[in-house]
Symmetry: D2
Subunit: 485 residues, 4 copies
């Protein structure tokens, strides 16, 4: 390879092989590749495109390949480029040249789209279930902590007292939207691309509906050129995951804040903190920090795939191979993040006294004082101004609103009376008695409604799983097999 | 301001004002701010929170403010920070201190969320309609060009012949998914946040359902803390827009390619090309290039808002103000891009001869030859190899598959017979007669189905628009008012 | 325009005009466009490419156009597309057809690159000066606050005591690297592209060195095709700005944290906080929040331009027009952010007692206790373990390390003696007496060195400015004209 | 773990371990970790902080650990979290408790920064050398192809003829700026952070200058808090890499375009193309496509780390651990991309006839015709218009500029004479005889200058490597060990 200066650390062939191979990551689709092939070949036999007995022979061979894979007996090699080639090569070893009939009426272009969709639809179910797990933990703690008052913040300044349960249920809402988005994406993921061939469809009397039904797809792709060049379904998962991670990063940030000495509201179980190699006293919220830090990672993956797609002419281009690692890593990041946040919250302790004290301090009841005046006929804007002056008066005299003498109140407005002292955090909370408000009854109702929503979500994923459990492969269809459980 | 060195070009107060003001861009929400206020004050009166006659007075005042705005008689000033302040200030000028009662039982935190949702749900309808416009153009041209054959590409290499209509309908599919995503986002956008107050709900007996109904919302927010800190609905629009722009960039790229001298398949109407200041002969596809280029812009906006949200503790933080410009610019980019692509395609001419010639050249029928062998019992994998040798033979002898002598065919495989010459582009296309394939009948059916889908989409947006037309403001609810039409 | 359905809100010509025009933003280059044209035409005359008297006539005309512009007498119109066309059109009005000779031996492709480089090199100087302003404020406060102890954090947990000045100087270091990066980028920005023509160079005996010298460029571009398609210099500015904003966002975050009730270390001047429309007591650090929030905006701009460039074939493509708005907005965001942070810090007050108390609490001296044992021969790893047990003992018995009885110490290790009580925050700080450490002498030295670095930076920008002040336009070369000062 | 529902697939301890461990990727720093430790312990002995004989013992032990590592005898386990722990654990096995003295006067916070800087500075050298390889290939081919004319494009429309060598050297310029940026980043990477301890410096009389000299660092960090929280150096590498990949993606795009049937300018060696599983005739430019596709990947990594840093309070936060994978993958993508592009270009063939024909067609000489008129006194703007009319005349009559009758020329302008036919592609190219232009002499000079620049670059990296070769570890300091060579 003198031609370009002998600088390469290896042969160009090897370099090209390593650069273009995908088996290092697409082996994760091994099971799904075989599943798709089983149904494809069953259909070929049924339609008489290949002799039924050969179809049976191929199917048996494929089952053997799957078994070999499950036992760890497949040798992976860069020379065999991708998962499809590995499966077919092993099949040929097992059953001879008839293996060559399996690739009739399909192309790797539609095959890889199939494998990825089979994989991703399961990942969506796993994702929704993990979301539900975290939602359930949020509900459990909200239930448990229903009587705990916390300071509600805006601009990270104490603003108004709220129930801690109300705060937790805000996260439930975010995750609920996340679950909806994943669920909606599912419908566009669970579409059969097989039959698109390389790009134009195939010249065989294939039965796409049969394949779709056998594989549990909701529909079949409507345009072959789109089917092989479409990666919207990957972007949809990544977009939904990016937003979900944004939510988790907010929760992570609050955990970091709340476990500081300064806030001191929350204590994590030792299992979720780590020490320092230098400072013996440290107990760091590493898991929460990492979840926050990994958010950028998911954003990066989303950007990557969007950039990939930009300006690609139809149909399949090799650039598309780059979709998988981003997707896999996103799943492997999001799922354990959900699990760990759930476990962390489930085992954390809150300092209710400290929360309550903070909720009562810092003039968090000033709005209620303004509303007191409004109730006595003062236009809100004026009441707001008057209360602002009260606060200044307190700051000047070292008082809180609770111990400011009545004459000081009256000096600001004669409408104040001794019942102004009845304003306290509980009164403030109870007063916000509207749908979505923090009043105890409202929070209790919200909690109940949340549990119903979670149950509905779980029922939906269970229904899908049941359907997939009846797929023609008798082995366990497996889950996403995230290395992080 | 000696303290920090006298280097500032202005007073800090002015700098702070300019840095924190939002009126330069949120004035776009003027109409929606008033609309929300009208219904809010109507509800306050109805519930007896403020006297009904004062509510009527405020509503009349608000209508006057709207009229002033429509006539361009509002003076905008950075000192008045944002749209809400401008409206209330003008209202006070018109009706005096009673204006101060309008802000009872709400905060700018829930108010701005309301305004943005009112605005965005209209933008979604406009977006879907523009998508439908482009889809319709694609269908119209597909209809017109049904007999035109084009080379189908993979890796930008000619692969197999397809109908040009089939190629166009691939874009229809992409846009159809786009429309679905926007439609699904609509349900999460069209949620009433008002009543969340600053963060905890409000201590007044407000009627959120009344407000929701009057304003045409599908539902009300379920948690006040979430309601003021949630910008998922912005990210959802941006995510869907990013993917839509990815699709448009692919179409833009193809227009750039197809109008080159080298491809020469497409000629744009002069209206969509521009010349060169230096080179008199140039006719450049600037609009297509800009659409491709603006894709990064939308990706950037999406990332901006995602980055914004990362790690934000609850509830409202001022960072959230940064959501608007990204959103507005995304709409102002996506909508004219759709319109211009539609107009460009509607007026472009194709060079059918050149397309057909390209579709027939470059061994695009090799797959069909392999399939010929498969039909005669050769396993596909072997047929693939044999055809590869045929292609090499052609290249070595300067033949095409169409004029390679039969003995050469037979030298490769005795299964070849003279009917191999019946393989031509039309035969190839007709053979792909499966759902989603490029056979003429399939494409015709797909076209019909596409038109139905477009009609259903338009019916849905029309239904929503009708509903919004009955909103309590008698003025035109306006559209997104994109400066680019 | 029946052809595509009559849905457009305007004529396609108008739509195309609006979509492709750049005058709405590139008018900001008006001054630079004229400056470049003056020197270009002077060179054309000098080389005899156009008659010298015509060159003089054109130059006089250009000066008049500049004057008109300064007086606001230029009418901007989308029909005239861009800044170059506006200048030439006005010139023609003033001096007639001879204006048509100005564009000899150049193209808009090299002209726009020229304008943008002329503009950006000034922006770089402004940026570095603003960085220096903030660095100076950091130094001033570090100077003033030299005796204030603060808790140093890792994982947002109190870790070890440090000097507040040391903390501030950490930011100085970040900004110093920022300034270096901008300075290095300057060398690649300040390169003359003119002469590249449309892409291939121009067939006239032009004198590029003369133009470069007259315009204060450091060098001339070496390849014409690169010169018109290169936007590296824009990306370099954006990359450096993104990292600078990352630093500012860290400072912004710390301001938000330190001004919370919980931390309570910092109080901002009223000028840099805002109130709440609902809560009368609020004093929110809005400016710091916005700086944090705007970080995503700059990241988005960087990505936009990177995405733009991806996969663009040579040479100029219209996509490149999209570089300007991202660049302008980045400058308009970064510069006031620097100024406002400087002003905010310059006027903030710290609560030294609270900082000192926090620095002393939370076992921040545990490392020093471990080091005490190390000094007595215990391997660090073992000392670390023993100190960990001491901390546990304190937690169990309600002691701090300062009041834990000696026998408890000795129970852990007999090496402890009464001098262990000499460990306090000041001792801890003084002990870190190594280059880069927090010992007072080291911090003083660092401060001095920092001031020298700032002075060197300012001297460099002043040198460049002086050079630009001698450019052939006698008007003020202007600054970046950021709307935010 | 009943507490959170028994849904986890593993114990939380294991989940946390897996989620927080870094040994799966930071093992790549194994060698650098030991190198840093050797010098650190040597310094501790020299300064009497630990007994010299123990220092020697530790150093010997570390050398043994390195040897074990080189032999693949280190067992990696998630329980041992990171590379630092693995090294120390193995060391303890080898030499007993004295191993515990190695961590005196340092923390993992400064240690990991050290390791990463040691690693990255080598990666920078490798990167620059690979850039030089590709630059050299560009120069070699430019040399070889000096007489080949190519069409120069703007807007992907043929614009003006250029030398193919000129086109190639445009890429040389881009890569040259890339190399400069990496070289400048090197100075900020090659800074010793050790001594910063956890964040405040260490209370031992360490000699940082000695360590820096021994390890070949250019300088030492100036502020300990900055030293442990700074990841600018990672972002700098990623920023420079993102821009370099943008350049490679442009080259990749051109390779894809130029190897289409439509362009037909370039043929790749079989080693760099792949076939199709379905279409026997295909020869796809997969490597070029993948390089283009991987660009988004690098953009994503850059974004990831920028997002990571946004809003992080000082000093070290666990989020920072997320910097490594993005960095490693960027290096592992950029380096083979450079190598493969170099190899691909070195072995590609061009179709000179087709290039020349394209360069002459499409009115690419129209600018020269306009310049012909300018030379005869017509203002450029008017000459441009007249030539535009000539082109229209040609199009109307089916002529090219070369065969348009002279009377047609004269009908447009009487200034045309028979010498107008002397305008041809070579004349056009030769006329652009200015610095940076495409005239043959200019291109030759540029080529020579380019080779000098490459040599200077290589000399610089060689100088750095020589310096590193004298580091205290006698083993080969190794290179970046990219799995792709």
């Amino acid at each position: 390879m003198r031609l370009w200066g002998g600088r390469f650390s290896g042969e160009p062939d090897r370099l090209v092989q390593e650069f273009t191979q995908s088996i290092d990551f697409d082996r994760r689709l091994f099971h799904h590749d075989i599943l798709g092939s089983i149904v494809h070949c069953r259909m070929l036999g049924r339609q008489g495109i290949i002799p039924p007995e050969e179809a049976a022979q191929i199917e048996a061979g494929l089952r053997q390949v799957e078994e070999d894979f499950q036992k760890g007996q497949i040798q992976f090699a860069h020379a065999l480029e991708d998962v499809h080639t590995h499966v077919e090569a092993r099949l040929r070893e097992l059953i001879g040249p008839v293996a060559g009939k399996l690739h009739t009426a399909r192309s790797r272009n539609d095959q890889v789209a199939l494998d990825l969709r089979l994989f991703l639809r399961e990942a969506v179910l796993d994702t929704i279930d993990r979301l539900a797990d975290l939602q359930e933990t949020l509900c459990n703690r909200a239930d448990e902590w229903q009587d705990i008052i916390a300071p509600g913040y805006t601009h990270l300044q104490r603003a108004q007292p709220v129930l801690l349960a109300h705060h937790l249920l805000a996260y439930h809402e975010m995750l609920r939207r996340d679950a909806e988005r994943f669920q909606e994406a599912f419908a566009r993921i669970n579409v059969l691309p097989l039959g698109a061939g390389a790009l134009a469809g195939v010249p065989y009397p294939i039965d796409r509906e049969f394949v779709a039904t056998q594989l549990g797809f909701d529909s079949i792709s409507r345009n072959s050129m789109d089917a092989v060049s479409d990666r919207d379904f990957v972007v949809e998962y990544l977009s939904a995951a990016a937003l979900a991670m944004a939510h988790l990063s907010r929760l992570g940030e609050e955990i970091v804040l709340w476990t500081t000495s300064e806030f001191g509201y929350l204590e994590l179980s030792d299992a979720f903190t780590t020490g320092s190699s230098l400072m013996p006293q440290k107990k760091n919220p590493d898991v929460a920090e990492l979840i926050r830090g990994k958010t950028g990672r998911i954003y990066g993956h989303l950007l990557h795939v969007l950039v990939l797609l930009k300006g690609l002419p139809l149909t399949y281009n090799r650039d598309l191979q780059e979709d998988k690692e981003a997707l896999f890593d996103t799943i492997d990041t999001l799922l354990p993040s959900l699990t760990l946040l759930s476990a962390m919250l489930a085992t954390a302790r809150v300092n209710a006294e400290r929360l309550a004290a903070a909720a009562a301090s810092g003039f968090t009841l000033a709005t209620d004082v303004a509303d007191y005046l409004v109730a006595r006929g003062v236009p809100f804007r004026e009441a707001h101004t008057l209360t602002g002056r009260l606060v200044q008066r307190c700051l000047a005299t070292g008082h809180t609103l609770a111990d400011l003498p009545l004459e000081e109140y009256r000096a600001i407005s004669p409408l104040f009376d001794s019942d102004v002292y009845r304003i306290d955090t509980w009164a403030s909370i109870r007063a916000r008695d509207i749908p979505g408000g923090t009043a105890p009854g409202r929070v209790r109702a919200a909690l109940q409604e949340a549990r119903q929503a979670i149950a509905a979500c779980r029922a939906w994923t269970a229904g899908q799983r049941e359907r997939f459990a009846r797929l023609p492969d008798h082995t366990d269809a497996g889950s996403v097999r995230s290395p992080h459980g």
